[in-house]
Symmetry: C3
Subunit: 322 residues, 3 copies
């Protein structure tokens, strides 16, 4: 394996060579314990400002596979009202400044993982990755995003690994990210991130969504965008199904999109296409049980690959002599 | 040690030879680290849909003694509204189907432990072990019950070890499970499970409880049942004290049973009997401080043996080449 | 290193030789893994009846550095209504007696850490260290205080290490503990404990606070006490900034002390003094950003030293053949 260590991991932009990284991840999947001492005596603190299942367990497992010790803090539950504004007189409800909290964390952990969802109300603040960047600024140690306001790179990396495992042909696969109905307002982090990774990958990439649900262009540059779902899906090899709320009318859920439900009508134009979803999924709201449980589903493989995505990222960080 | 590996552990029915298992557990107690690498590089996810103290810590410790890594999720607190109904349109409050959650868990853990208390309102669903069986069905990995709707086999195994340690005579001890008063409705899992194990053990086993508090016969077949507490306790060597709510009038607490309080009157017919309780115990409601803290108490020994019961179960699972 | 093992750690009184302990801690800081197997196969249970960031992570890391396994229970969140009164008829809201809970914990852990804040309403009970002592009484294993009703010795030990690292002269440094404004009632544990350690250390120690905010004399014996802040700070080498509520009018916050805010006026009488705070800190309420982030700040070094304080304590406990 080549050595291009990284410091932080918050976006595909931190990855010097995605092809090399996919190869490393697949090598870890084939032999998870090949560097079982790479992180010996190192600790990673996993800070969850929002709930997590897959990200928590896969990152914990990835750390274990490298011999690292993981310390989990569910800070949404364990009470930690952080102040983010510099210079504030802290006589209100916040009990600790991020400067001090992140600074202290950096004294106890060699790497910090942070999950920090967007507000979906303050677009500018969310776009600036306010919380994540404060952890980077003040902790003094490498930071790995466990899903931030605008991106979820560990998920997207696992998604790319999964596409790679399922594509044996020599021409580029057609990958379509399609918006799906939901019952509430979801962040844009997963679709933004998937777009960002697909635009750098060796695939033919299309995004389809109702008008008005355009993602931030900064993440979709290079993608084909088509608001006609059937046209977009035609000949698709991989379909990534995901809901998101509006970026233009920031955080507004689009609740009239039931005709975007992925079912037989859509699959008729891309028979045999593989079905992807990051989970959790609202079954029979976003797409049908039949597709999620059918022969084309890749959702469990995506989940499994979360471990090897995280293991690759942590291993790359450890190469930087954390 | 002989090798009869098991897959799941949800009942005494999963145990091929309880005598052999007790011997293994006692051997682990004498030498906890004898197989300190048996679970090296293996992970166990402990999923608590309900609170836990002893079960969590004893199973974590058992896993450590075998070199396994334990990942704990307190899912009652950490927010995880699961959907259990197949085919449902998930447009309500549940955010993830058990199919996807358990499936993903099985990708990150080699063994899954699940605690899932009964509803005490839907008898049929509780009796079917609805939640536990969904984890078994969808996770694809071995599942160990950390107390389910109807059974608590890790507790009962620890109870049997404790009886074995405290019985030096050659004839069979008389073991009596007696109902005890309480202030709220408790599950039947502990008494069901204790009955199931005692009916297979080399003991003379009696159950006593107020009329109307009969346990599900499927677990008590082979036991002597006597609703006269004093008669039942006569000559007892071991008294297992436990409250449970009604199985017939499902989940109804029996609040008029204060005369079932275990005190001097009862002990007069079985002087020197050993006192057992799974804990937590409502002191001076179920039985007296004098008995719980007296020379006959085994409650702390039961707690201690939880570790070796769990260690034996996990070791048996690891033999199956998890 | 000399071997003066200890059993419990709840106060500076448990430390036979603070100079030796500081040396050990600094040796661990220089070489954290020098006894990486000292706690092999040992477990520590960390019981938090109140929230924690630094104490939790630093103690977890200290345990890891010694090869121990840490099991964390956030019992404030994870539901554990304990009964502390002996002989009570437990027919109310408490579900388990401390006797049984601590007893069981002692079966699963070789060392128990407990965080138990004061009520700030029942002075006598808090002063008696009611909760901490119950854990000591019933668990049967060594107990380390993770901050109790009246003391926070792991913090004070880290503070002493920090002073030692920052004092190169041969004469004794002047250390001043100054009360600081806050918006709510805080415990006296940190100032009590700091006073107790400083009175045993080789320093010139002064405490300053508004009249009526005298700490319990049992912890301040040997200190100079001066209610004129400017006089007290004159020539200080180290300033420890901390709010506390009244001990006399037990638990009452003193909200009129804004002139005790540590700023330029105060620093004029001790230019170059080092600034200490245990964190979390209410910035610009207790003292200014300029001081917390300036060249004299030691707060991050104090946080970092928490690990080596805890590691020294655990190592000393392990020497006692836990």
């Amino acid at each position: 394996m080549k050595h291009h260590p990284i410091k932080h991991f918050t976006s595909v932009k931190d990855v010097p060579d995605i092809r090399e990284w996919v190869n490393i991840a697949r090598s870890f999947k084939a032999n998870p314990m090949q560097f079982a001492d790479a992180g010996k005596h190192k600790t990673i603190a996993l800070i969850f400002l929002n709930p997590s299942l897959r990200t928590r367990l896969s990152t914990q497992k990835a750390a274990m596979n490298l011999g690292m010790q993981a310390m989990v803090m569910n800070s949404d539950k364990e009470g930690w009202a952080l102040e983010y504004t510099d210079g504030n007189i802290m006589n209100g409800s916040t009990v600790e400044h991020i400067k001090d909290a992140a600074g202290a964390l950096g004294k106890f952990a060699d790497i910090i993982g942070v999950r920090c969802f967007p507000s979906l109300t303050d677009k500018e603040k969310d776009d600036s990755e306010f919380v994540l960047n404060k952890f980077i600024e003040y902790s003094g140690v490498p930071v790995v995003s466990l899903e931030s306001s605008t991106l979820h790179p560990l998920q997207s990396f696992a998604d790319l690994i999964t596409i790679d495992e399922n594509w044996k042909k020599t021409d580029r696969p057609k990958v379509v990210l399609t918006w799906a109905p939901h019952v509430k307002a979801l962040p844009q982090a997963v679709p933004n991130s998937f777009a960002e990774w697909m635009c750098k990958a060796d695939v033919d990439f299309t995004i389809t969504h109702p008008e008005g649900l355009e993602l931030n262009e900064k993440f979709t540059s290079g993608a084909t965008i088509n608001t006609n779902q059937i046209e977009a899906l035609e000949g698709a090899d991989f379909i990534y199904v995901k809901n998101w709320s509006s970026y233009q009318e920031y955080g507004k859920p689009y609740l009239d999109g039931s005709n975007w439900f992925l079912g037989d009508q859509q699959m008729n134009v891309c028979p045999g296409a593989k079905i992807m979803h990051c989970l959790p999924v609202r079954r029979n709201v976003e797409l049908s049980d039949a597709l999620l449980d059918g022969p084309g589903t890749l959702v469990m493989q995506q989940a499994e690959n979360r471990t090897y995505a995280a293991q690759t990222v942590l291993w790359k960080m450890l190469q930087a002599h954390v």
